[in-house]
């Protein structure tokens, strides 16, 4: 395990009296690809700006390599940022943009020109030195923004939704390129996105945020397979989230049916959230399954069909590769291992909010 590089310690921040971050505590390790993931407005950019030095927290401290940098201005921090809207300097050529940070830190001419060449190669834009910012596409501008940041050899690269403005194909290409870059450079990435797929693809660690609170920190697998609450489950991929009652250990009641599960320790007759991933729902001919329902819609999604089944007053979301037809009466079953039981949110820390993403 690499050593801890950044510690955001008990950070609070509000704008115009409304709390954006509430007692946020986050540690980032060296060489980690950490992603802050959450719906728009949950405080991701604010967190990143606190790291970059563009905002100061109302309470709490930022530690970098053990030193308190809370009051340090951005130009004195050993990290660089790739901004959401690229923020290239329009009055400079591409080479001048990339050289900007190096010139400010008074590097030699030959060092700078070597660095420009190296950085352009790294982002696959050799020969673009003399081009103007205007003449570049969005994807190219974003690569230049990345090149401009990394030539300064920061210990940490902060990226705020850097692929947000690109189209799907380009976004996917850039995702792979970013992973490659991170491996080549061996530096820490703190990456902000609201796109859960992007987060799952690229990250070592995902921090799921909502309304200024951290909901869960974990590897992509942890977050996907073991979401700690209904919000995370809902935000990471599609889920069936059903109100249930824990009858006793390993037995839960949903929609009037009592089924076995593997979770224990929730007490007896306690209200819980039951989360079932759509790919874990199995459809078969009745009377198989613990519940019966009718197929109301089928959408072909390429790899699978997305099917909606109305059963006991709930519309189940099902992903399957088997072909069914609308109106078919089917049985629903889920193996106990794939039934996730979660506590209903009690404090605002765990507040689960219905959102569309």
């Amino acid at each position: 395990m690499e050593k801890e590089l950044i510690h955001l310690s008990h950070i609070s921040k509000s704008y115009d009296g409304s709390l954006v971050l509430d007692d946020l505590d986050l540690k980032i390790r060296e060489n980690e690809f950490m992603t802050l993931l959450g719906p728009s407005g949950c405080g991701k950019t604010t967190t990143l700006r606190l790291l970059g030095g563009f905002e100061t927290p109302d309470a709490g401290s930022v530690f970098f390599d053990g030193a308190d940098i809370t009051a340090l201005p951005p130009n004195e921090r050993k990290l660089n940022t790739v901004f959401q809207k690229y923020a290239l300097f329009p009055h400079m050529s591409i080479a001048e943009n990339i050289a900007f940070g190096l010139k400010i830190s008074k590097k030699s001419k030959s060092y700078i020109s070597d660095k420009i060449k190296y950085a352009l190669k790294l982002v696959n834009l050799d020969g673009f030195e003399k081009r103007s910012v205007d003449s570049l596409s969005g994807g190219q501008q974003q690569r230049i923004a990345i090149a401009r940041a990394i030539v300064n050899e920061p210990k940490v690269l902060l990226l705020d939704e850097p692929l947000g403005a690109l189209d799907l194909k380009l976004r996917q290409d850039m995702q792979y390129e970013l992973i490659r870059l991170k491996e080549e450079l061996g530096i820490t990435f703190v990456y902000v996105t609201h796109d859960q797929e992007e987060a799952l693809t690229m990250s070592d660690t995902i921090v799921v945020m909502n309304q200024g609170y951290i909901q869960q920190i974990g590897t992509p697998e942890d977050i996907y397979n073991e979401p700690t609450n209904a919000f995370v489950a809902d935000f990471i991929g599609d889920s069936n989230i059903i109100d249930g009652t824990m009858i006793k250990d390993k037995l839960v009641n949903i929609l009037g049916v009592t089924i076995p599960c593997v979770d224990t320790g929730f007490g007896q007759n306690k209200p819980v959230d039951v989360v079932i991933r759509p790919e874990d729902v199995e459809l078969s001919d009745p009377p198989n399954g613990f519940m019966e329902g009718d197929i109301v819609s089928i959408i072909f999604k390429g790899v699978h069909y997305e099917i909606e089944v109305r059963a006991n007053g709930y519309d189940w979301l099902v992903h399957t590769t088997k072909l069914f037809s609308v109106g078919t009466h089917v049985g629903i079953s889920v193996i106990p291992f794939n039934i996730q039981i979660m506590n209903k949110p009690e404090s605002s820390d765990e507040k689960a909010v219905e959102i569309d993403v």
Binding site: G52, G53, P74, N75, T81, A87, F89, I104, R148, N152
Partner: protein, 274 residues
């Protein structure tokens, strides 16, 4: 069909341009290079070299230059302050600065005549404070004062516009790449506002160079600018030929100064005021 429609739509503008811009210029050119009997001569243009005309032209250039520099010195910091304000207040303050432009120009200058005159408001206040009286009216300083007062918004607006177009993220990026606040100004703000400054200079320098009303009212006939000379040729001497000849010379100066500014405007987008 489409093309025909487009041409039809541009009709009124063409009539306007021909009738109110091209024709008058042609008329001035005609008068400028003919004498009273209508035969060709360059006398009227060469007349600029007469000492009294030369003196007026040089004074005009000098006062226009001083006014422009003063406007610039006042406007740039002001635009920076404006731009730094909370967005909510910004448009209101800009509105305040533009407000005088909606008042009749003559009225504003007449008001200054009252304020600056020997028994005017300024001296009354000075006297009440036990300060010595100043006789500002009818001096070149009063003319410069009037020009700065009058043309200031034309300098502020283009500078403020170019400044407000610089995104916060550009400034953040510069800070992020190691700039302190002074470096941000020198390497980002200043170069990106050059186009605004240049169009501001044109917007102030050109009317200041050609003005005759301000010098009439605040200079009291004692400050003779080239605009006053031309006006006198037309109105008092009814020598249209001489007036036109000198106008041509002035026009050459105006065009030269605009060309000079444009050649220094690398951005090539600055001259739009709004």
């Amino acid at each position: 069909m489409y093309n025909f429609k487009r041409q039809f739509l541009s009709g009124p503008y063409i009539i306007w341009i021909v009738g109110f811009i091209v024709l008058p210029i042609l008329v001035i050119c005609y008068y400028g290079i003919t004498d009273a009997s209508g035969s060709f001569t360059l006398e009227n243009i060469i007349a600029i070299s007469e000492p009294i005309h030369m003196k007026a032209l040089l004074l005009s250039l000098k006062l226009a230059l001083v006014s422009t520099l003063l406007c610039l010195a006042l406007s740039y910091p002001l635009a920076m302050i404006l731009n730094g304000l909370h967005v909510k207040h910004q448009s209101f303050i800009v509105f305040i600065f533009v407000l005088p432009m909606w008042m009749n120009f003559m009225l504003r200058i007449l008001a200054w005549q009252l304020i600056l005159s020997n028994n005017g408001i300024l001296n009354t206040v000075f006297q009440a404070l036990g300060l010595p009286r100043v006789s500002l009216l009818n001096t070149p300083a009063a003319v410069v004062f009037g020009m700065v007062y009058d043309y200031l918004p034309f300098m502020i607006l283009p500078i403020y516009n170019s400044m407000s177009r610089i995104g916060n993220d550009i400034v953040d990026a510069a800070r992020d790449l190691g700039c302190n606040k002074f470096q941000v100004f020198a390497k980002i703000i200043l170069p990106l506002t050059v186009s605004g400054v240049l169009s501001g200079i044109i917007m102030v320098f050109v009317p200041a160079l050609t003005s005759f009303v301000i010098s009439n009212l605040l200079g009291g006939g004692k400050v003779l600018l080239i605009g006053n000379v031309i006006e006198q040729e037309f109105m008092q001497n009814t020598n249209w030929n001489m007036g036109s000849g000198l106008s041509i010379v002035l026009m050459i100066f105006v065009i030269a100064s605009m060309a000079f500014m444009n050649s220094h405007n690398k951005e090539g987008e600055g001259t739009a005021v709004w």
